[in-house]
């Protein structure tokens, strides 16, 4: 892709300053159904987003099309969108000269991992899962790898490059015992193939699958709940998105005027760390500003809002390196989040709860969770906790609450940290008295 042609077209049209965020990626995936390779997919594509100021207004354009003719469409679209766009400030298209902390998110071994190995490993995992218990009728396994290269450049001479890769392994199972049919699912994000312990992955999922036989609803009532890491992630991350200074300025944030206040449990400390060694690490934000590590919630008190250059100027502060491209505009967005682990192991957490429910999956997140109000009412699965131990599997219950209120009554934070695909790393968390609906 010849970016110079796009810069030339923009300059000729009077779009100045001008910026392009370009990305190319290649990926490979293999999907196994029991003993059969069912789908094998590869891709090699690129896309770009262009942004610029035309006659004092901001305009933008995005495209997968990379042939020379796209320059004219790009110019026309930016001019058209700038007509009604927001006022543009050239100051927010930065010069070069910032200091960036280097991150390494590219793995040669991931990039060069042969497709045949992906297939063989997936077939082996499927075989091992089904061999664990003959009632496991189906084990679908998929593995993928993706390598991306990005360029972020503007007409003021800034040019940043990055190269990254990641792999994903996932598996889903179906177990049948008489009339009882249950399914399970697991997914793991990897920086490189060496991180995968295929035997352990297969064993863990197989054990979990078998343990769900006989799952039934429980009586409706108030229960102490231990949320698994994935549930904590699904509930907390959207709430933390309201730390955007833009949301605060629009009176659409539950954290408005709440800096320094004890809003959440003192057992909760949450950090945004762009440099933790995960596939989510990055050096710069969507304006080219260096990313920054920061404490978002310090022992339950909100520490900071998130800023891009424009919001920082409005509030008389500095950018926090959180610029994201959201819905066609630059807005502050959340980066990689880490929930600080506590000292209790998972078993100790369960023992501490005594009697309650361990919820290991939540369904309907996209519709049953109002991320504006923090209210949620979601289908849940998990296990009963009786006398400090995990006992019977539980299914077809709902758990309802408000995220801000519920994470204000934490019993304890576990030490069992897990990296999740949603750009968050968190342990399990036990919470007091949530509404559970069953029978």
């Amino acid at each position: 892709m010849n970016l110079n042609k796009l810069f030339e077209a923009a300059k000729k049209a009077g779009i100045d300053p001008f910026e392009i965020s370009y990305g190319s990626s290649k990926s490979l995936s293999a999907d196994i159904y029991n003993d059969t390779l069912e789908q094998y997919a590869s891709s090699n594509d690129c896309s770009f987003t262009a942004r610029g100021i035309y006659q004092g207004k901001l305009g933008s354009f995005s495209s997968d099309k990379v042939d020379p003719s796209v320059a004219d469409v790009m110019v026309e679209s930016i001019i058209q969108s700038a007509k009604y766009g927001l006022d543009g400030n050239p100051e927010f298209f930065i010069e070069k000269g910032q200091k960036y902390k280097k991150v390494n998110t590219y793995s040669k071994s991931a990039d060069e991992y042969p497709g045949k190995c992906m297939i063989d490993v997936s077939l082996d995992i499927s075989k091992k899962i089904r061999a664990y218990d003959k009632r496991i009728q189906i084990a679908e396994v998929g593995m993928s790898k993706s390598v991306s290269e990005g360029i972020f450049a503007n007409s003021k001479g800034l040019k940043l490059k990055d190269k990254s890769s990641y792999m994903v392994i996932w598996a889903s199972t179906k177990i049948v015992d008489g009339q009882d049919v249950e399914t399970e699912f697991e997914v793991k994000l990897l920086s490189n193939p060496e991180e995968l312990n295929a035997d352990a992955f297969a064993k863990e999922l197989a054990e979990k699958t078998v343990s769900k036989l006989g799952a039934a609803p429980i009586k409706s009532g108030k229960y102490n709940v231990v949320f698994a890491q994935s549930c904590v992630a699904n509930l907390l991350r959207p709430l933390l998105g309201q730390l955007s200074s833009f949301s605060v300025s629009q009176h659409l944030s539950l954290f408005e005027n709440k800096l320094g206040q004890q809003l959440l449990s003192s057992k909760l400390t949450i950090t945004e760390n762009p440099y933790t060694k995960t596939p989510f690490a990055s050096s710069y934000d969507r304006e080219g500003m260096p990313r920054q590590k920061k404490v978002l919630v310090n022992k339950g008190k909100v520490s900071t809002y998130l800023y891009d250059l424009e919001m920082a100027k409005k509030d008389g502060t500095a950018s926090t390196g959180n610029a994201s491209f959201i819905g066609g505009s630059i807005r502050p967005g959340l980066g990689f989040v880490e929930v600080k682990p506590g000292k209790k192991s998972f078993d100790e957490l369960v023992s501490l709860v005594g009697n309650g429910v361990y919820i290991d999956s939540l369904e309907g997140i996209g519709t049953g969770y109002n991320t504006q109000s923090g209210d949620y009412s979601l289908q849940a699965n998990g296990y009963l906790i009786e006398n400090g131990k995990i006992t019977k599997p539980v299914t077809l219950i709902t758990v309802a609450g408000n995220v801000l209120k519920d994470f204000g009554k934490i019993i304890a934070v576990g030490s069992d940290v897990k990296l999740l695909t949603g750009a968050i790393q968190t342990p399990s968390i036990a919470i007091k008295k949530l509404s559970v609906s069953g029978i």
Partner: protein
Amino acid sequence: MIVSKTLAAAVMKEALMTGADFAELYAQDKKSHAISISHKRVDTLKTNVTYGAGIRIIQGDKVIYGYTSDLSKSSLLKLANELAQSFDGKTPTEPKPLVKVRNPGKNKPKIYHDQMTDEEKIAQLRKAEKVMYEYSEYIVNASCSLSETDEVVEIYNSKGRFVTDTRIRTRLGIAAYAGKDGQFQTGSERPGGQYGDEIFQMHDVEKLGKKAAKCAVDLLDAPECPSGKMTVIIGNEFGGVLFHEACGHPLEANGISHDESVFCGKLGQKIASDIVSAVDDGTIENGWGSSNFDDEGNPTTRNQLIKDGVLVGYMVDDYNGKRINMPSTGACRRQSYKYCPTTRMTNTFIENGKSTPEEIIKATKFGLYCVSFNGGSVDPTTDKFNFTASEAYIVKDGKIDHMVKGASLIGFGYEVLMNIDMVGNDSARGQGMCGSSSGSIEADVGQPTLRVQNMTVGGKGERI
């Protein structure tokens, strides 16, 4: 033309050089234009181009898929060659000569997107915005959006089939955000269809705005929904998400062919109450989920799924249809060229029954009346589903009593279908986006008002 017929033929030939059974080239050129007003300003006015092609090669049960946004001859032939290396046959399969299939030409818009200026469109959205802010002091944001897509797809396959289809879709999003004493609630209306900017003639944006604002404000003071087992009346139109989740997904052939649906092997059997009949219909003129051809080039159909409670059909694509020995029902879809297509829904709805909505409410001593929904999800293998009401009321002694918030409904889809005991005569369809393995696609859901006995309702309120 996105890809010339000559090039497509060359791609077919290259893809089959190692003896696979079938090859397909799917080329897409889609322009998406979005305008939104939010935070009292034009917040978004952007154009996005989706442009690329996917090549699918099948041998037996094995599917190889690849895609690229570089549609040059060298790029496409290279991709076809690389994918073909997944098979090791020595004798190439000869593709049949490509013959263009006539497009029935349905789903044309009355007003094309370029016949209205952005200024005119913004003026329409501003009307809805004004009404929402004027409705109540508690409205903290009024968000109004218009989403327009103009798409051309070309589908070529080695059976000699070549189709093109133009899909023009338009959707409004009118959402009100109400805030009071540190809490927020939302209300929204999102009509759309496969038509153009006549959407502004079909829908009164001010009425939509007022409805959205009223819902958001009413929810601020509504008590929490009680929890437990209840009789539930599900409203028409977007209430159809019940059927979409509880039954629609499990009737897609990709689950049936892999023994991953609770309805496997149940054709001819009673799976719902006698008063339930349901259809998936991709031929509805200007339907949000409609098209002239599906995304593997087969004509869409009106497909009876359930008739008087008996399962009579599945939704079937060619690949999964071969596995279960059933013909395609024109139900193969994908979000874009980046996805391998599979069986999906189009416009899926329960047909009219005999009761009126008023009779259904009057016949209910105590229950929950869910008027509108946010959506839901399902595990087709177990048929455990969930969906969330965005507007719901308690019904007492045959009358709508008071609004409640935070109601979610869960259960086994096959139980819910059997527990439907009243079906109304006011069937209507609502628009949504359905997510699955081949991406996010436009789909209508629909039903008349109906009543279900003994559903599990989740909420923060007191236990029933």
